[in-house]
Symmetry: none
Subunit: 153 residues, 2 copies
DNA sequence: TAGAAAACTTCAAGCACTTGAAGTCAACGC
DNA sequence: GCGTTGACTTCAAGTGCTTGAAGTTTTCTA
């Protein structure tokens, strides 16, 4: 009869997806002590992330995204400033993170549109349709201006 | 009677402001050949950017913003200078860029959802609503499970 | 027009990842 | 069981800026 504890563990790939940090960066952060050593599998050397690990990494991702240096992140985490006792503070951090993600999504949508225009442009050039190419060139220029504005935040 | 070509020129600081790239990055791009050598002042060694330089740099800034490597930027700019003959090459590069952007958008949407759950979670903890906190914890876990299924594609 | 202050220059070093090589581990079909 | 496939591991080297130092050049103010 096995103990049926609800499985709440994650592979490094899961952790990477949920935090937005590449797996290589998770290993890097661990290697330089931003986060403590992660538990390994019973039979393997593979990292096994717990729910708490994920919570902590979510915070670290927030700090990283706001441009904090790894040295500062390390002391921030070491000082326990990210524990449950600072809930209000943490919500503020997460709301900020949410705002930044929305902005990032906006930027990506703009860039995708820009790229699509450029694809159409080169296809027009290839087809020898100069008028359409010029028109698309103007569209690209206008969009580049939009992109610059969004970027300022 | 002087030739009245309106010769608009820009300092490196002007160029940085107009392209959104730091001055240090403009010098770096020039040093590794992403852009050609910029004209210098008559009496000084200061860079003097022309309108054409600015156009090219705006384009380079867009490539940079979409995460293109400097090597790819270099060949892309070189191909662009070659005009219509390289059109097919340009389209291939851009289609790849479009695919990357779509993937990035997907990841960001997922992260945003995770962050929103975490915000609600900490607000529940702060309010002492343990039941709701547990429920949200489950939701975060469910999101991770959904992710595993999506990952198969 | 002198002399300070701001902006530019090069070069080198630093930072925060990122990638590559070479090997280990796990899950599947046979 | 047994090979193949793909994800994981470590470690070292590479990448793309970024910053700092030390020295011009330009511009502002007096």
């Amino acid at each position: 009869m096995s103990t049926t504890t609800t499985r709440t563990t994650y592979s490094i790939k899961d952790a990477a997806m949920l935090t937005g940090l590449p797996a290589s960066t998770l290993r890097y952060y661990e290697s330089i002590g931003v986060i403590g050593p992660i538990r390994r599998g019973e039979t393997s050397s593979h990292r096994v992330y717990s729910e708490e690990d994920l919570d902590l990494l979510t915070w670290v991702a927030c700090l990283s995204a706001t441009g904090m240096s790894v040295d500062d992140m390390r002391s921030y985490v070491a000082n326990g400033a990210l524990g449950p006792s600072a809930a209000a503070n943490q919500v503020a951090l997460l709301v900020e993170q949410e705002r930044r993600l929305a902005l990032e999504a906006e930027q990506i949508a703009l860039r995708a549109r820009y790229v699509r225009i450029k694809i159409a442009y080169w296809q027009a050039v290839e087809a020898g349709d100069t008028a359409r190419a010029d028109e698309l060139s103007d569209q690209a220029r206008a969009l580049a201006d939009d992109l610059k504005k969004v970027r300022k935040n």
